[in-house]
């Protein structure tokens, strides 16, 4: 996956993120935290596992736990559609799968397109590092109030911390 991104001598503050949707909102994770994107394989549920654990899958012979990112973010659970994908993310202890509704695209965010904000409150705040507005400059010329391109930037470390 990272191979699709052209390596550039970009300044440190420019970040590549992968955006995906969950319950009509757009979220994003740092591109380098994502090892692989899988078409959702059949997931074997694990009885008596924590609620946000969807189950296990075999990734080339390796048993991998898949989490429902909707439940993790306290969103309503919905059965996975055909567009659903599993993002393989390294939690530091093991590779975990995160189920998302659909994967969108890779964005390159300039520093002025990221708002390190704490406008999100509640439990979600733990996982959110800020809001990304890709093409904010371009959009400002047209309709500054548009929310279409709002990315909720997630912190993978925080997201996976409580699992282990």
């Amino acid at each position: 996956m990272p191979a699709e991104i052209e390596p550039e001598n970009a300044p440190q503050s420019v970040r590549d993120v992968l955006s995906f949707t969950l319950a009509d909102e757009t979220y994003a994770l740092p591109l380098e935290s994502i090892h692989e994107i899988l078409k959702t394989p059949p997931i074997t549920p694990v009885p008596r596992a924590p609620a946000d654990v969807l189950g296990i899958i075999s990734v080339r012979g390796r048993i991998t736990t898949v989490l429902d990112l909707r439940l993790r973010l306290h969103l309503a659970h919905e059965p996975a559609s055909a567009r659903a994908r599993v993002l393989l993310v390294d939690s530091g202890v093991e590779l975990l799968g995160l189920l998302v509704d659909a994967v969108q695209q890779v964005h390159r965010l300039n520093p002025d397109e990221v708002e390190l904000s704490n406008m999100v409150s509640g439990e979600l705040a733990d996982y959110v590092v800020g809001i990304g507005r890709p093409g904010a400059r371009r959009m400002a010329e047209r309709d500054a109030t548009s929310t279409e391109e709002l990315l909720i930037l997630l912190d993978p470390a925080a997201l996976l911390r409580r699992v282990v």
Binding site: P42, A49, I56, I57, T65, L95
Partner: protein, 724 residues
């Protein structure tokens, strides 16, 4: 070989030597207690330490080198009789082995090795023993012979004379080509009756093809007995008498020419560092091969005249267990390929015109299957090691703990040859060590107490291992004080785990099982050796993790027996595939006794729990769909009972369908699921299907313990057991 590999190799070899040393020291300890002296064992230990010194030097383990060096000197004094073997000396030797171990593993938890203190301890016991300087001159031994004896040989000679053992002289002629095997044969024949003190070659005989040897033996047997034991080689046997008796009976001296080619050595020379092999001064240059070292003898067989062989004696290789794990995974993947091939064949079968190729594919598939299962068996076999490996380590601990606590304990081991997967053996040492410390600390009484109680002062700790089907049973049994049911109950009540009335309802077995609860200790009995922050609950958890079960049986006053039942391997297992609410689960076949059709009318309810009667015994049932919360249970549907059993516990698991038996590779669940009870892992069934593998031991524990406690009316205990 990279440096890392070489280091691994060194560590493995050093470990092997240390284990060997430990074994020999225990034998030596036993011999000493029985009043025997066993010079060959001391030599064995000396050789081991010497080899260790050599390789430690090669790999830059200087501390280890220093300890081995000091110990080597002590051992040399021992075998030369300058120091006599006492329990104190044995303590120092055992401590040496401990130090080796610690230096090798660089165990951060253990106390640092105080080399100076250890050197001082060695010096203390190394003070020379008074030498009984009985002269050898009384004997009709040629001075040319006496002058070439090594210090060790002279020591053995003196010892035998002091003990009144008769000396014999044997003249043999061996062919140079077969000298090694002939010598070996001679040793084997003489061994039951006599000790071979030395053998010296004489240059006279045989015209280059043969060699004459003069062999000096010590034996309590008569000349006739010894001669018949030696068979054809014993023709030239005679007794060596004292001058005062009958010097005339000596064999003619000229037939034993002085060994002029051998540099004579003053007997008072200090023992040199080099190994025994090079110490013998009498090997003439014409002697073929290393005839002086028993171990080396087989080497020279194929190549007489070649004094050194670089070929390794052993035909074994050491392999990192992870490499075997990897191979096992490959086998697992191949098994998936096999089933994929099977599916292809099925598809092909639909086409009538491909019948020929379908048949052929079927045949090839069968061959593939056969070889695959051979490969799998082979890898499993390689992983197997005898339980003796861990028993030997325990023997060392037992001796140490017993001495620390001034208790007398003898260890009786049976079934050390029973084989178990290497990984299981590794994981077993800690739980076993804890159990054994407990047994010596709490179980076996002091010698005085034992005698008062009418028991022999020497306590017995038995380690028994035996295979039982696809499981291995290990029993740890002591003849100590046993456990007091009253005291256990009292403790449970005091800790608020249950009321007196509740405790009354427990059977003795259930009371004994209390010791496996976290934090349960009978306070008055705890001491620092067994109370190292781990209790029996940890032991139980560790055993469960290996898919095993631990049971306790104890009689107050006469001893305690712990029985551990373990699977032989964890790597690849046969499993029964079942379906519950449409989902596949695998149950290790080793835990399955039988599977029967569940007739709804068979089910009765006893104390709020469903049971069926199978072969006249009551079997508690567990409906997996309920336990796992899978959908709404449909009681009208046909279902099956899989009777799982471990040790003497049985449980019926109710499932919807039986899918058949299959070999599976168990893969661990991720850390995020390590707290989920009931599963020991998962397995890839191919076709993107993953099945959870039921942890039969865990389920038995969980469900049976829960009902037992529920019956006793205490939910808190049940909680404790479930989260154990």
């Amino acid at each position: 070989m990279s440096e890392g590999d070489a280091r691994e190799e060194f560590l493995a070899e050093a470990q092997e030597i240390i284990e060997g040393l430990s074994r020999d020291l225990l034998l030596l300890d036993q011999a000493d207690k029985e009043g025997r002296d066993d010079p060959e064992l001391i030599n064995e230990v000396f050789r081991g330490v010497h080899t260790l010194k050599g390789i430690a030097g090669m790999f830059g383990y200087h501390q280890l080198g220093a300890v081995t060096h000091a110990l080597e000197d002590l051992l040399d004094d021992l075998r030369l009789g300058r120091v006599s073997l006492t329990q104190n000396v044995l303590d120092v030797l055992f401590e040496g082995v401990e130090n080796f171990q610690r230096l090798l593993t660089e165990d951060p938890d253990g106390p640092p090795v105080d080399l100076e203190a250890y050197a001082a301890a060695i010096d203390l016991v190394q003070a020379p023993a008074p030498l009984a300087r009985e002269t050898l001159e009384d004997y009709a031994l040629d001075s040319s012979v006496l002058s070439v004896l090594t210090e060790y040989e002279e020591h053995r000679l003196r010892t035998n004379i002091e003990q009144g053992v008769t000396l014999f002289r044997l003249l043999v002629r061996f062919s140079l080509a077969t000298i090694d095997s002939s010598l070996e044969e001679l040793k084997t024949r003489a061994k039951p009756l006599a000790e071979i003190i030395t053998y010296l070659p004489s240059m006279g005989g045989g015209g280059g093809e043969d060699i004459d040897l003069e062999v000096l033996l010590a034996s309590r047997a008569s000349l006739g007995e010894l001669r018949s034991a030696l068979g054809s080689q014993g023709e030239q046997l005679s007794e060596v008498r004292r001058h005062t008796t009958a010097p005339s009976q000596l064999p003619p001296a000229p037939s034993i020419p002085a060994v002029a080619s051998v540099p004579s050595r003053p007997t008072s020379a200090p023992p040199p560092g080099p190994p025994i092999a090079s110490e013998r001064p009498h090997a003439p240059t014409s002697a073929p091969g290393p005839m002086d070292e028993e171990d080396a003898a087989p080497l020279a067989k194929d190549a007489p005249g070649d004094p050194l062989s670089l070929r390794s004696v052993a035909s074994t290789v050491r392999v990192d267990i992870r490499k075997l794990d990897h191979l096992m995974n490959v086998v697992g993947e191949l098994a998936l390929v096999r089933s994929a091939l099977g599916n292809l064949r099925e598809k092909l079968r639909q086409h009538a015109d491909e019948r020929e190729i379908t048949r052929e594919l079927h045949r090839v598939g069968r061959t593939f299957e056969r070889h695959l299962s051979e490969l799998q068996d082979g890898i499993l076999d390689v992983r197997m090691v005898p339980l003796g490996q861990v028993f030997d380590k325990l023997a060392r601990i037992i001796r140490q703990v017993a001495r620390e606590h001034e208790k007398e304990v003898q260890l009786v081991v049976t079934g050390a040859e029973t084989e178990v997967d290497k990984l299981i053996v590794e994981e077993l040492s800690d739980p076993l060590m804890h159990i054994i410390r407990n047994a010596i600390d709490h179980g076996i009484e002091s010698p005085k107490m034992r005698e008062l109680g009418g028991k022999p002062a020497l306590g017995t700790l038995a380690l028994n291992a035996y295979p039982k089907g696809s499981h291995v049973v290990i029993e740890i049994e002591d003849d100590g004080a046993g456990m007091s049911i009253e005291r256990l109950v009292e403790t449970a009540v005091r800790r608020g785990l249950m009321s007196h009335a509740e405790a009354e309802e427990l059977t003795n077995e259930e009371v004994l099982a209390l010791i496996f609860l976290p934090g349960f200790t009978t306070r008055s009995a705890i001491t620092d050796i067994s109370g190292r922050g781990v209790g029996m609950d940890v032991v139980k958890t560790n055993i469960s993790r290996l898919g095993g079960i631990i049971d306790i049986h104890s009689e107050h006053g006469s001893g305690t027996k712990l029985t551990i039942t373990l699977p032989v391997t964890l790597a690849i297992i046969s499993a029964l595939l079942v379906r519950v609410a449409g989902r596949p689960f695998a149950i290790p076949i080793t835990a399955v006794q039988e599977a029967i059709l569940l007739v709804p009318t068979m089910v009765r309810t006893v104390e709020g729990r469903e049971v069926v009667t199978v072969r006249d015994t009551t079997l508690p049932l567990c409906r997996l769909d309920e336990l796992f919360g899978l959908g709404t249970p449909n009681r009208k549907k046909r279902s099956f009972v899989v009777v799982t059993a471990l040790a003497n516990r049985r449980l019926g698991l109710v499932v919807d369908e039986l899918e058949g038996q299959q070999d599976i590779v168990i893969k661990a669940l991720g850390r995020s699921l390590s707290r989920v009870p009931g599963f020991s892992g998962a397995t890839d069934l191919g076709d993107e299907r993953v099945a959870l593998v039921l942890d039969a031991a865990g389920l038995l524990e969980e469900l049976l313990a829960t009902t037992e406690w529920r019956r006793a009316g205490d939910a808190r205990l049940a909680e404790g057991v479930r989260h154990d």
